[in-house]
Amino acid sequence: MRGAIAAVGVGETPYYRHGKAPGDETLLTLQAIVAACADAGIDPRDINGFASYADDRNAGHTLMRGLGTREMRWASMAWGGGGGGSVAAVGAAAAAIHSGQAEIVVVYRTIAEASSGRLQDAVAHYDMGPHYTLHGISSPAQICGLKTERLIHDGVPRSALSALVRAQYHHASRNPRAQAYGKTLDAATYDAARPIVDPFGLYDCSRENDVSVAVILTSARRARALRKPPVYLLGVAQGGTIGEAWENEPDYGSGGFEAIAGRLWAMAKLGPKEIDVAQIYDNFSGPAVAAIISHGLCSIEEAPELLTFDNLIADGGRMPVNTSGGLIAEGNAHGMGLIAEAVRQLRGESSNPVAGAETCLVTGGPQTPLLSSAVFGTEATL
């Protein structure tokens, strides 16, 4: 499948404060998909597949009349309550196209508090039974805090979290879509943040938004006839090796991507050293650092030297990460915004372009039972 499928359109609504969108999820979803169609040069009526994740409520059939869909041929949901399924939805769309079951598939995620309630409540309800709630744990932040404390115990310096967050604010400061547009974050301000749950302060945490983001995929053959340069899917993998674990994963601090990354690199026919830029799921800073490490972009031993502000920024960094600002500083579309940024980055449309970037890694949901990641590439990588 390497290179056979391409992303051809990106669209989104603004990142509204949670509860502040001027409409329900159906409206936001239609706006994002129609924008993605305009970006691609595709008639919205020609979309014939729908793929989403995280129990998104906006099933394809609820969108058909608004889009004018001629025929729905594919609709799929990646299981899991968190962002782990974000890139898995890309994989499902690609499988549908590659197998001939659909031709033009939109991958999307929409969140509006008025329609679905608070995202943190939905995620907690999905993932946290009585062994959590009866022990004072009701937020994913607390679990991510436990795992990150273990990762730090295993040798990752706290400075890596600070560097990543400040790099993301640096990127967001130049991204007009971002919540943190025009705002950078210095180390003193980061250090003085209100503590939330150890080791996280306020800036380590993503905030919730009302938003919809859509990315359109189609075959490479169709993609070449459209208006913008195709961004090719070189590899994609989803799944996990552990299943539901109630915090019993053998390597507790790990991002858990080792097996998925192995399949990803095999399909993409490249390895972590060939990744030019990465969009790493960052519900919190610590899990993003764990995902960077478990994809092999950096070892625990290399973390103190490699995970620095200068290395993580687009302006000449050795390993630029989250060039839109990510969930933490651009906004929280549950990981879908990272996929959009991967496409923009490889088209040269990012607010923080990485010079000469030909490959981009994008990941979904570290430390969840279902994980996913993908590599996109430019024409030159085929």
């Binding site: 744990i137 607390q142 273990r150 503590p195 749950v197 080791p199 109630w246 915090e247």
Partner: protein, 133 residues
């Protein structure tokens, strides 16, 4: 501190029933003697459907530890800040339980030895931990 009672018909019901009787019980496969945690209806390793729930000493080692400083849980607002523990049970194959500390936290760290005890709450019997002396 009310969090709602655990359900009585799930695969982990013997865990909660054990605590209500003052005993910690962890699942083990009767077919292959592997510890099974989280508990399962069937042992995926050997295929046995026979699972047992032996009593396990309430002694553990802190595998991970994080202080909660924001009032996420309505029932815990007056406890802020409080440490959330992930405790490994050496006598149950290293099975790990989430839990709360109830007692002095001085010296608490990853690797600390802790002792558990049942604690009645309005809804259920909970397992709480204190630093081993």
């Amino acid at each position: 501190m009310s969090h709602g009672a655990p359900p009585a018909d799930t695969v982990d019901a013997p865990f909660w029933a054990g605590l209500a009787g003052g005993v910690l019980r962890i699942q083990r496969c009767a077919g292959c003697a592997r510890w099974s945690w989280p508990p399962q209806w069937r042992c995926g390793a050997c295929g046995s459907w026979e699972m047992e729930w032996p009593e396990v000493p309430m002694e553990g080692i802190v595998h991970a530890l994080s202080w909660t400083r924001h009032p996420f849980s309505p029932g815990m607002v007056d406890k802020i800040p409080y440490p959330v523990l992930l405790v490994a049970l050496p006598d149950a194959g290293g099975a790990r339980l989430l839990g709360l500390l109830d007692g002095p936290a001085e010296g608490l760290a990853i690797g600390s030895r802790v002792t558990g005890f049942p604690q009645e709450t309005p809804d259920h019997t909970a397992l709480r931990w204190q630093l081993a002396r």
